[in-house]
Amino acid sequence: MSLPLDLQILNSLAALLLLVSFAMLSQRRIVTLVNLLAFQGALLCAATLLLAWRTGANHLYVSAGLTLALKVIVLPWLLHRLIRRLDVYWDTEPLLNVAGTMLIGLLIVVFSFGLAQPISELASTATRSSIGIAVAVVLLAFFTMITRRKATSQVVGFLSMENGLFFGAMSATYGMPMIVEFGVALDVLVAMLVLGVFFFQIREQFDSLDLQHLEALKEDR
């Protein structure tokens, strides 16, 4: 019954990923949120490296490098700079209290594992048991976006969702084709830059990054 050591490590890395997602769900300080995102990226990078070593698939080394460069270094650095320049360190009161958020998060995880069950049986990879975790990370990140008001924390949620997708692809089929991975990485980077511009514009218009002000844009009936 006991798994080989590398798989055990991989599974614990996956568990840590999920844990970080929960941490992000409850965290109110934006600086910490970004740090958690970087940590999640580091975990992802470690998991990819381990998998690359185990399967001997060379392209996974490249993905790991890409993850390290982009998700652990560049994006968190960009976000930190944005936070400093925009001077937003705290999210305001979230739409739902922490306890409620956590409970719903639990339900989401249960749902994700139920969902991943049939997919795991189809997949032939050694890491198939972590597909459920990947789905849970995606949905939790989505849920994080729903519960936040500040544009910056929503972007963090968005990036975390991308982490989950990446992990899902890795555990189900040992990563996407190289060209797709490059494309996605580039997309994320560009999206980050564009959103950065948007932040400044939003703040200029409303003197705040609170998205509640955008509700004024709604068409009157």
């Binding site: 969902l115 989505f142 729903i146 936040r148 955008l214 709604k218």
Partner: protein, 667 residues
């Protein structure tokens, strides 16, 4: 010889391509009116060529191609059989006349520049050709929508006028409604094979219930394009809005593509029509015919009048269509073949006569700038060419022998009269009543034409500006002469025409027409019955009688002629306002069919020094059907608008819930 010539299908495709090329050349110089006129003339020559090719290919076997166009794995299929040939002939022949007229008609003015108009016009022509040649649902829908869009832009040529924009919108709306129904119908027709070629649909052999749904959806879809009640509302709006050559094309040719579509679906793709489908089509068709002609009788705008007359003729066409299905469904092949041939014949006839009339109104409109019948009159003195040629069209559409309208309506009436032999209870008693309705529609159509022609061309001018009206230019005259010639020829040689149409029916599984052979001048549609018609003898006798009468009057009359004012009746001072008006002429109909109309009248008081009588006749269906429908849509839209919360969190929640729901579905 046939080895040397390319096949008719490739020639037809070449003509359609030529039309598209003409359009592209036109748009390259959008403001060059002279070039545009020359291009229209070339387009007319292409139309004539298409008519000749199609007519010669009526008896050649079916051909099919797969074009190297379309989406990957979804190429365009084209196919030409006898049915396509009939409609290609109709398109080519009518467009030859209309394009010649248009070459002299379009002028510099506000709205769409001439080069763009040239592109839209020729794209419209080519898309109608592709509709008829399409052999898979994909190409059919592409061509069908191209047709709807190009004609929409043509209708809104004068797009700076708000009424015209709203007319175009109604047209586009109903066209899309119809397209959705057609799309759904094709979805049913593929019958689970998920192959959308017409060949696969022929193989599908649907069960009666899905087949019935497919037919009814097709009837709604094509009925919307054809103008069956209650989807007719766009016709009286769009036709007055469009320039006259465009109205002529839309009414003369485009409405027939709808007939082509429903015929293709019912007799070819569904192969074995069920008889009660015919009952539905016949009922709607008869109602549409009577409805259209009644409304035509009370109009005072000449193009609206013609639009309602088109609705009437579409009703007649669908009556023939329904009758053909009934006869085929109950196993009476000879009568089915007659009804089917009569339908195709009437479609061709209507293409000629309605185009002729619309072009006539176009010439009048140009000469006088007036569409209102109340401000016209006496134009036969100012514009003799237009007046006499329009008279041919008016007589033809009033179905008077020896012109073409009579032959097809007579054939239809013949087959309808024999419907008492249909072996179904009640139906065989009710159907002959349909003959009475058809006769009523035909008689009222004659009444409408008397009004149309009399008020515009006869009597005295109602406005002083009418004295300055000028006759049409030579290109316009050629176009009118071509169409009038068609009306006469199709009336004089029905045996020949029916011989060609008989082949169409045979390809679609009808029995051949039992025409009596060897008597090319005498038309006997059913060999074992008594009815027969000899147009040439009729024409000869009528001409002889007229000549004898003229001679007799000249010979025996006392020759002492006193010239006095017309209609003076011994009353010295009279004015043009003493003539019967359009409103006055329609009054009996307005009175008899009161429940149909939604009338608003301004009656002058007895003390009014400048009395003006005004009546606006509206369509009750607007109030009964479209306004409630519009309210319902508004209500639904308002309740959906609740979704727009303006909060990003809510929008994210929508996506989240949708995602979860879809994932849960997968479980």
């Amino acid at each position: 010889m046939t080895d040397v010539l390319p096949s008719p299908l490739s020639l037809c495709l070449a003509v359609l391509l030529a039309w598209l090329t003409i359009g592209v050349v036109g748009i390259s110089r959008p403001n060059n009116l002279r070039l545009t006129r020359q291009l229209f003339a070339i387009g007319a020559a292409c139309g004539a060529a298409l008519a000749v090719i199609a007519a010669l290919s009526l008896t050649t076997p079916t051909e099919q191609y797969v074009l190297a166009l379309g989406l990957p794995d979804l190429p365009f299929h084209v196919r030409r059989d006898a049915l396509s040939s009939v409609f290609l002939f109709l398109l080519g022949a009518a467009s030859a006349g209309i394009s010649t007229f248009a070459a002299g008609y379009f002028r510099e003015g506000q709205g769409t520049p001439p080069g763009l108009l040239c592109l839209e016009y020729h794209a419209f022509l080519a898309s109608m050709g592709f509709v008829v040649l399409a052999d898979d649902a994909y190409m059919f829908m592409v061509a069908w929508e191209a047709m709807a869009l190009s004609s929409y832009f043509l209708v809104t040529t004068q797009h700076r006028i708000p009424e015209i924009r709203s007319a175009g919108f109604i047209y586009l709306l109903i066209a899309h409604l119809g397209a959705i129904a057609i799309l759904l119908s094709f979805g049913l027709l593929q019958g689970g094979s998920w192959q959308f070629t017409f060949d696969a649909m022929r193989e599908a052999r649907l069960d009666p219930i899905p087949a019935s749904f497919a037919f009814l959806l097709a009837l709604i879809g094509f009925g919307a394009k054809a103008g069956l009640v209650p989807l007719h509302v766009w016709l009286p709006e769009a036709h007055p809005a469009a320039p006259s050559p465009v109205s002529a094309l839309m009414s003369g040719v485009m409405l027939k593509t709808a007939l082509y579509g429903i015929t293709r679906v019912a007799f070819d793709l569904l192969a074995e029509p069920i008889w009660w489908w015919g009952l539905v089509a016949l009922g709607i068709g008869l109602f549409t015919a009577v409805f259209g002609v009644i409304f035509a009788a009370v109009q005072s705008d000449m193009k609206r009048l013609l639009a309602y007359s088109s609705i009437e003729n579409v009703g007649i066409l669908f009556t023939g269509f329904g009758l053909a299905i009934i006869f085929k469904g109950v196993g009476m092949p000879a009568l089915a073949a007659i009804a089917f041939a009569a339908m195709l014949y009437h479609a061709t006839n209507h293409a000629f006569m309605k185009s002729l009339l619309f072009l006539g109104t176009g010439a009048v409109l140009h000469a006088t700038g007036e569409r209102n019948l109340g401000r016209l009159g006496g134009l036969i003195h100012r514009m003799p060419w237009v007046a006499w040629l329009t008279l041919v069209g008016a007589l033809a559409i009033a179905s008077l022998p020896p012109l073409n309208g009579f032959v097809s309506e007579w054939l239809l009436l013949q087959s309808l009269l024999f419907s008492y032999e249909v072996p179904r209870p009640f139906v065989h008693m009710l159907l002959p009543l349909g003959a009475a309705l058809l006769a009523l529609a035909a008689a009222l159509a004659a009444y409408v034409m008397v009004k149309f022609y009399g008020v515009i061309f006869l009597g005295q001018p109602r406005e002083s500006t009418l004295h300055r009206a000028h006759d049409a230019g030579w290109l316009e005259r050629i176009g009118l002469i071509w169409l009038a010639l068609g009306c006469v020829m199709f009336g004089l040689f029905p045996t020949f025409v029916l011989g060609c149409l008989s082949n169409v029916g045979e390809q679609l599984g009808f029995s051949g027409l039992e025409l009596e052979t060897g008597s090319w001048w005498l038309l006997v549609p059913l060999a074992d019955r008594e009815a027969s018609y000899a147009p040439l003898i009729f024409l000869g006798t009528a001409t002889l009688l007229v000549i004898l009468t003229i001679y007799g009057v000249r010979r025996f009359y006392h020759q002492r002629v006193r010239l006095g004012p017309a209609w003076g009746c011994g009353f010295g001072e009279f004015s043009a306002r003493m003539q019967d008006t359009a409103e006055g002429f329609g009054q009996p109909i307005r009175h008899l069919f009161k429940p149909f109309f939604d009338m608003k009248r301004d009656l002058p008081t007895p003390f009014d020094t400048e009395p003006r009588y005004r009546v606006v006749v509206g369509d009750r269906l607007w109030q009964l059907l479209y306004v409630p429908l519009g309210r319902l849509v508004q209500l639904a839209a308002n309740s959906v608008a609740w979704l727009q919360q303006g909060r990003i969190a809510s929008y994210l929640l929508y996506s989240f819930v949708t995602l979860i729901a879809l994932l849960a579905l997968m479980l």
